[in-house]
Protein backbone atom coordinates (compact mmCIF):
# COMPACT_ATOMS: atom_id res chain seq x y z
CA UNK A 1 0.00 0.00 0.00
CA UNK A 2 2.85 2.39 0.90
CA UNK A 3 4.54 1.64 -2.40
CA UNK A 4 1.39 2.44 -4.29
CA UNK A 5 1.13 5.79 -2.46
CA UNK A 6 4.73 6.56 -3.38
CA UNK A 7 4.11 5.68 -6.99
CA UNK A 8 1.08 7.98 -7.17
CA UNK A 9 3.08 10.78 -5.57
CA UNK A 10 5.85 10.30 -8.08
CA UNK A 11 3.36 10.50 -10.94
CA UNK A 12 1.98 13.78 -9.59
CA UNK A 13 5.44 15.20 -9.17
CA UNK A 14 6.22 14.52 -12.78
CA UNK A 15 2.90 16.08 -13.82
CA UNK A 16 3.80 19.34 -12.19
CA UNK A 17 7.44 19.53 -13.04
CA UNK A 18 8.03 22.53 -15.25
CA UNK A 19 8.51 21.62 -18.86
CA UNK A 20 10.57 23.49 -21.38
CA UNK A 21 8.58 25.15 -24.06
CA UNK A 22 10.15 26.76 -27.01
CA UNK A 23 8.97 30.29 -27.41
CA UNK A 24 11.21 32.94 -28.82
CA UNK A 25 9.05 35.75 -27.49
CA UNK A 26 10.07 34.88 -23.95
CA UNK A 27 12.95 36.75 -22.41
CA UNK A 28 15.33 34.91 -20.10
CA UNK A 29 14.11 35.02 -16.51
CA UNK A 30 15.92 37.34 -14.13
CA UNK A 31 14.36 35.88 -10.99
CA UNK A 32 12.10 33.02 -10.04
CA UNK A 33 9.02 33.53 -7.87
CA UNK A 34 8.18 30.93 -5.19
CA UNK A 35 5.18 28.68 -5.82
CA UNK A 36 2.83 26.36 -3.93
CA UNK A 37 0.59 23.80 -5.62
CA UNK A 38 -2.31 22.24 -3.79
CA UNK A 39 -4.96 19.77 -4.78
CA UNK A 40 -8.58 19.90 -3.64
CA UNK A 41 -11.41 17.49 -4.48
CA UNK A 42 -12.61 19.66 -7.33
CA UNK A 43 -9.64 21.81 -8.30
CA UNK A 44 -5.92 22.48 -8.27
CA UNK A 45 -4.65 25.73 -6.80
CA UNK A 46 -1.38 27.39 -7.77
CA UNK A 47 -0.12 30.22 -5.54
CA UNK A 48 2.78 32.42 -6.56
CA UNK A 49 4.57 35.14 -4.61
CA UNK A 50 4.68 38.24 -6.81
CA UNK A 51 5.15 41.26 -4.54
CA UNK A 52 5.24 44.57 -6.35
CA UNK A 53 4.14 43.10 -9.66
CA UNK A 54 1.10 44.80 -11.13
CA UNK A 55 -1.83 42.91 -12.58
CA UNK A 56 -1.13 44.18 -16.10
CA UNK A 57 2.41 42.85 -16.05
CA UNK A 58 1.43 39.19 -15.51
CA UNK A 59 0.39 36.87 -18.33
CA UNK A 60 -1.06 33.41 -17.80
CA UNK A 61 -1.45 31.03 -20.71
CA UNK A 62 -2.44 27.40 -21.01
CA UNK A 63 -1.33 25.35 -23.97
CA UNK A 64 -1.18 21.57 -24.35
CA UNK A 65 -1.69 21.09 -20.60
CA UNK A 66 1.23 23.39 -19.86
CA UNK A 67 0.44 26.37 -17.67
CA UNK A 68 2.80 29.27 -18.27
CA UNK A 69 2.98 32.27 -15.94
CA UNK A 70 5.31 35.00 -17.04
CA UNK A 71 5.75 38.72 -16.66
CA UNK A 72 7.93 41.48 -15.42
CA UNK A 73 8.56 43.22 -12.14
CA UNK A 74 9.16 46.86 -12.90
CA UNK A 75 10.97 49.33 -10.71
CA UNK A 76 8.81 52.13 -9.28
CA UNK A 77 8.89 55.33 -11.25
CA UNK A 78 9.53 57.31 -8.09
CA UNK A 79 12.64 55.36 -7.22
CA UNK A 80 14.21 55.74 -10.63
CA UNK A 81 16.93 58.33 -10.64
CA UNK A 82 17.00 58.39 -6.87
CA UNK A 83 20.02 57.84 -4.77
CA UNK A 84 20.08 54.17 -3.77
CA UNK A 85 21.46 52.92 -0.47
CA UNK A 86 20.36 49.32 -0.75
CA UNK A 87 18.74 47.09 -3.41
CA UNK A 88 17.77 43.61 -2.25
CA UNK A 89 14.55 43.09 -4.17
CA UNK A 90 14.61 41.37 -7.55
CA UNK A 91 13.44 43.06 -10.71
CA UNK A 92 12.97 42.07 -14.30
CA UNK A 93 11.43 39.20 -16.20
CA UNK A 94 10.21 35.99 -14.60
CA UNK A 95 8.52 32.87 -15.85
CA UNK A 96 7.40 29.51 -14.53
CA UNK A 97 5.78 26.61 -16.29
CA UNK A 98 3.79 23.67 -14.94
CA UNK A 99 2.64 20.58 -16.76
CA UNK A 100 -0.86 19.83 -15.57
CA UNK A 101 -2.94 16.66 -15.68
CA UNK A 102 -5.16 16.35 -18.74
CA UNK A 103 -8.19 16.46 -16.43
CA UNK A 104 -7.91 20.22 -15.85
CA UNK A 105 -10.65 22.23 -17.55
CA UNK A 106 -8.54 24.82 -19.35
CA UNK A 107 -11.50 27.05 -20.21
CA UNK A 108 -12.46 27.42 -16.54
CA UNK A 109 -9.09 28.58 -15.19
CA UNK A 110 -9.40 31.62 -12.97
CA UNK A 111 -6.81 33.91 -11.38
CA UNK A 112 -6.76 36.72 -8.86
CA UNK A 113 -4.24 38.82 -6.95
CA UNK A 114 -4.27 39.39 -3.20
CA UNK A 115 -1.50 40.97 -1.06
CA UNK A 116 1.19 40.19 -3.61
CA UNK A 117 0.12 36.57 -4.09
CA UNK A 118 -1.22 35.35 -7.42
CA UNK A 119 -3.92 32.69 -6.99
CA UNK A 120 -4.69 30.47 -9.95
CA UNK A 121 -7.55 27.99 -9.65
CA UNK A 122 -7.74 25.14 -12.13
CA UNK A 123 -11.01 23.20 -11.88
CA UNK A 124 -10.97 19.47 -12.54
CA UNK A 125 -13.20 17.84 -15.10
CA UNK A 126 -16.25 16.02 -13.70
CA UNK A 127 -14.82 12.57 -14.39
CA UNK A 128 -11.66 13.39 -12.43
CA UNK A 129 -13.44 14.31 -9.22
CA UNK A 130 -13.26 11.64 -6.57
CA UNK A 131 -16.31 9.46 -6.49
CA UNK A 132 -17.49 7.99 -3.26
CA UNK A 133 -19.46 4.75 -3.47
CA UNK A 134 -20.68 3.01 -0.43
CA UNK A 135 -20.63 -0.72 -0.58
CA UNK A 136 -23.08 -2.49 1.64
CA UNK A 137 -21.92 -5.64 3.30
CA UNK A 138 -24.55 -8.32 3.07
Amino acid sequence: MMNMQKEINRMFDSFFRGSQIEDESLVPAAWCPAVDIAEHDDEFVVKMELPGVSREDVKITMQNHVLLVHGEKKQDKESKGSNYHRVERSYGAFQRTFTLPATVRSEKIDANFADGILNITLPKAEEAKPERIEVKVK
Partner: protein, 118 residues
Protein backbone atom coordinates in the same frame (compact mmCIF):
# COMPACT_ATOMS: atom_id res chain seq x y z
CA UNK B 1 4.99 14.27 -0.06
CA UNK B 2 5.40 13.04 3.47
CA UNK B 3 2.52 15.05 4.86
CA UNK B 4 -0.18 12.69 3.56
CA UNK B 5 -2.34 15.61 2.59
CA UNK B 6 -2.14 17.36 5.95
CA UNK B 7 -0.67 20.81 6.34
CA UNK B 8 2.57 21.02 8.17
CA UNK B 9 3.48 24.59 8.92
CA UNK B 10 6.59 25.18 10.92
CA UNK B 11 7.48 28.66 12.08
CA UNK B 12 9.60 30.43 9.54
CA UNK B 13 10.39 34.04 10.30
CA UNK B 14 11.73 35.79 7.24
CA UNK B 15 13.71 39.00 6.93
CA UNK B 16 11.90 40.73 4.07
CA UNK B 17 14.04 42.01 1.19
CA UNK B 18 14.36 45.77 1.29
CA UNK B 19 15.27 48.56 -1.09
CA UNK B 20 16.33 51.85 0.48
CA UNK B 21 16.63 55.00 -1.54
CA UNK B 22 16.92 58.67 -0.92
CA UNK B 23 15.00 61.55 -2.46
CA UNK B 24 15.69 65.23 -1.73
CA UNK B 25 12.95 65.24 0.96
CA UNK B 26 12.94 61.71 2.36
CA UNK B 27 14.40 58.25 2.81
CA UNK B 28 12.16 55.54 1.35
CA UNK B 29 12.21 51.88 2.43
CA UNK B 30 10.38 49.29 0.27
CA UNK B 31 9.87 45.81 1.71
CA UNK B 32 8.61 42.73 -0.16
CA UNK B 33 6.07 41.12 2.16
CA UNK B 34 3.78 38.91 0.07
CA UNK B 35 0.97 37.06 1.82
CA UNK B 36 0.63 39.25 4.88
CA UNK B 37 -2.71 41.04 5.11
CA UNK B 38 -2.44 44.77 5.88
CA UNK B 39 -4.13 44.29 9.28
CA UNK B 40 -1.35 42.03 10.54
CA UNK B 41 1.44 44.51 9.79
CA UNK B 42 2.90 46.33 12.77
CA UNK B 43 5.25 49.24 12.26
CA UNK B 44 6.85 50.80 15.32
CA UNK B 45 9.40 53.49 15.94
CA UNK B 46 11.26 53.50 19.23
CA UNK B 47 14.58 55.08 20.21
CA UNK B 48 15.61 55.53 16.62
CA UNK B 49 14.77 51.95 15.62
CA UNK B 50 12.10 51.28 13.03
CA UNK B 51 10.61 47.81 13.41
CA UNK B 52 8.41 45.96 10.97
CA UNK B 53 6.52 42.81 11.89
CA UNK B 54 3.78 40.93 10.04
CA UNK B 55 2.09 37.56 10.01
CA UNK B 56 1.44 35.44 6.94
CA UNK B 57 -1.90 33.65 6.81
CA UNK B 58 -1.81 29.93 5.92
CA UNK B 59 -1.97 29.65 2.15
CA UNK B 60 -4.09 26.50 2.02
CA UNK B 61 -7.11 25.08 3.77
CA UNK B 62 -6.43 22.15 6.05
CA UNK B 63 -8.23 19.78 3.72
CA UNK B 64 -5.99 20.65 0.76
CA UNK B 65 -3.33 18.22 -0.35
CA UNK B 66 -0.25 20.35 -0.88
CA UNK B 67 1.67 18.73 -3.71
CA UNK B 68 4.49 21.22 -3.94
CA UNK B 69 5.56 23.79 -1.41
CA UNK B 70 7.94 26.72 -1.67
CA UNK B 71 5.88 29.28 0.28
CA UNK B 72 7.04 28.65 3.83
CA UNK B 73 7.07 32.08 5.44
CA UNK B 74 4.88 32.33 8.56
CA UNK B 75 5.95 35.83 9.59
CA UNK B 76 8.19 38.74 8.68
CA UNK B 77 10.47 40.70 10.95
CA UNK B 78 13.04 43.39 10.28
CA UNK B 79 14.48 46.35 12.16
CA UNK B 80 16.32 49.41 10.89
CA UNK B 81 18.45 51.75 12.93
CA UNK B 82 17.80 55.27 11.76
CA UNK B 83 20.37 57.98 11.47
CA UNK B 84 20.27 61.48 12.87
CA UNK B 85 18.85 63.01 9.73
CA UNK B 86 15.42 61.38 9.97
CA UNK B 87 12.40 63.20 11.36
CA UNK B 88 11.04 60.43 13.58
CA UNK B 89 7.70 62.13 14.12
CA UNK B 90 6.65 61.98 10.48
CA UNK B 91 6.61 58.43 9.14
CA UNK B 92 4.26 57.52 6.33
CA UNK B 93 3.57 53.92 5.24
CA UNK B 94 1.60 52.36 2.39
CA UNK B 95 0.95 48.65 1.74
CA UNK B 96 0.16 47.72 -1.83
CA UNK B 97 0.57 44.52 -3.89
CA UNK B 98 2.48 42.86 -1.06
CA UNK B 99 4.99 45.70 -0.79
CA UNK B 100 5.28 47.92 2.28
CA UNK B 101 6.63 51.37 1.44
CA UNK B 102 7.79 53.47 4.39
CA UNK B 103 8.62 57.11 3.84
CA UNK B 104 10.82 58.79 6.44
CA UNK B 105 11.06 62.53 6.04
CA UNK B 106 14.41 64.18 6.51
CA UNK B 107 14.98 66.77 9.21
CA UNK B 108 15.25 70.34 7.87
CA UNK B 109 19.02 70.23 8.52
CA UNK B 110 19.57 67.25 6.18
CA UNK B 111 17.48 68.55 3.30
CA UNK B 112 19.54 69.96 0.48
CA UNK B 113 19.72 73.72 0.62
CA UNK B 114 19.94 76.06 -2.29
CA UNK B 115 22.44 78.78 -1.66
CA UNK B 116 21.88 81.99 -3.52
CA UNK B 117 24.90 83.67 -4.97
CA UNK B 118 25.10 87.35 -4.31
Amino acid sequence: MTNNGKQTREDKIVTPCADIFETPEAYVVCLDMPGSPKETISLTMEKGILQVEAAVEPHHEETANVLYRELRTTSYHRAFTLGEGVDQSSVDAVFENGVLTVKLLKTPETKPKQITIN
